[in-house]
Symmetry: C2
Amino acid sequence: MAEVVAGIDIGGTNTVIGIVNHEGDILIESTIPTRCQSTFDGFVKTLTGEIERLLMEMGHEHKLLGVGVGSPNGSYNLGAIVNAPNLEWKGILPLCKEITQNTGAPSVVTNDANAAALGELLFGAAQGMKNFVVITLGTGLGSGIVVDGKLVVGHDGFAGEFGHVVAKVNGRQCGCGKRGCLETYASATGLRRTAFKMIADNNQPSMLRNITYDKLTAKMITEAAKSGDPLARAAFEYTGLILGTRLADLVAILNPETIFFFGGLANAGELLLDPTRRNMEEFLFPVFRGKVKLQVSGLQDKNAAVLGAAALIWEELKKMQV
Amino acid sequence: MAEVVAGIDIGGTNTVIGIVNHEGDILIESTIPTRCQSTFDGFVKTLTGEIERLLMEMGHEHKLLGVGVGSPNGSYNLGAIVNAPNLEWKGILPLCKEITQNTGAPSVVTNDANAAALGELLFGAAQGMKNFVVITLGTGLGSGIVVDGKLVVGHDGFAGEFGHVVAKVNGRQCGCGKRGCLETYASATGLRRTAFKMIADNNQPSMLRNITYDKLTAKMITEAAKSGDPLARAAFEYTGLILGTRLADLVAILNPETIFFFGGLANAGELLLDPTRRNMEEFLFPVFRGKVKLQVSGLQDKNAAVLGAAALIWEELKKMQV
């Protein structure tokens, strides 16, 4: 009987479920809408029902050893999702307990960026690395930090909220209730805000001027920059300035070997990485200059969040055996 | 035969040597001037000679198991001191190799703040804690970070340079060659700079107006603030604003249980901690609010740097036995 785990990636819109083996191959995968049920209990029932359906579809020769979940505001220590801004159910949601009740298998949760870091460590470009950081650039900015080969979870299980360091005192309004958080500048949403501010502040022509804020995507800005649009390029330069400055802080604190970028905005590649690297180098404490690699995730084309969530539960099962 | 180690604290002016037992008691201690010799080799010879003299003085019933050193810019990975701004010998100084050649005992070095963190963990107020940070506030600002019960050294052995995160773009000139580093605001020197800037910017009367910059000390500003001098109090408030903002970043990244303050400026106690805590709380990601303790080190009155350096080599000897 082949041993497998379920890797779950809960997002604001969709939840992806994958059945994953020891080697990190996704054997089968499906997606359910996160808002499929009005109650959280209902959502977990649909989720675990879908896991069972996938196992059935694969035939009966697979044994489910555990369920790993990456979720916005997932707390490893509590086994719960805690007041996630992008989910409609508030409070402390006892996710792992309910999954175990429904499936009989152990379950563990962490935030989605931590899951991506574990995925990178076990199946991606960070294999064998001891000290690295994965930055996820989507609607927001998340970070998963690995120190000495282990994921940093912190005292309350909420380490890695790098998206909410102060980039600018009294800066842009953030979904967390503060102002000036890094993710209001360095994320897909942050890039859109920067492009719109530049349209307002400057007179230079740009193909972005005839798009509404609601329709504008980071992908459109990326395409515009690639085709030479000066305003779009300036938006990337500014994003790199803000992100590079704060990455220099992160390096001063943690001295990582590599910083990986994952998620939608990471598809911009060197368009984002080049200004980020240049600005980071300028603000780096001299001893670190030229030493820290910035690169796109090795799992950028794969479903890293599912792989990471699977990696999380494989790691947990190893600990249980010790 | 009782087993002991030597704990060494190398400072810009003096080097303190202590012989320390398993329990963290300093059995005997002495101080040599760091500039006792013109060459680095000469300095290490004087240092190891002094260790031998101390052991002789204690009688022959003690066996030296190892030598732990805390030093500015001490690199754990290289076993060396690397371009320390406050030492006159530049380049990569192979400290541990030379100590071992002279004493026959294994040696390990880390930066002074890391040593203080280890001291706090083994003998201070952090006993039993898994995630905490020690901030040393002296001429500069150093930090020792403990994650999951272990000191964070980073990929190149230089983690914990929290004094060189960017507090202000194009801010005050720093000894490291950059501008606006946190330690140019939050340190004994930073407090002096702030007091002088306030004397220049404002007209309010202050007992600090008749002291030259060279004669002004953080202790004088502390005494003035305690006696109600409004300018001195404003200088602490500003220091707390800058330090609190960046500590909020540190918490977002690492989620520590407690942040300890150690060193000369930490003697100011709540005069510094109160504005720092207030400002940190304001900039904290909501999930961390009210959770992180700021307190003065449990070793503030003891020779924590020597204890920490001793703790470092005890830890190293444990690893060697594994």
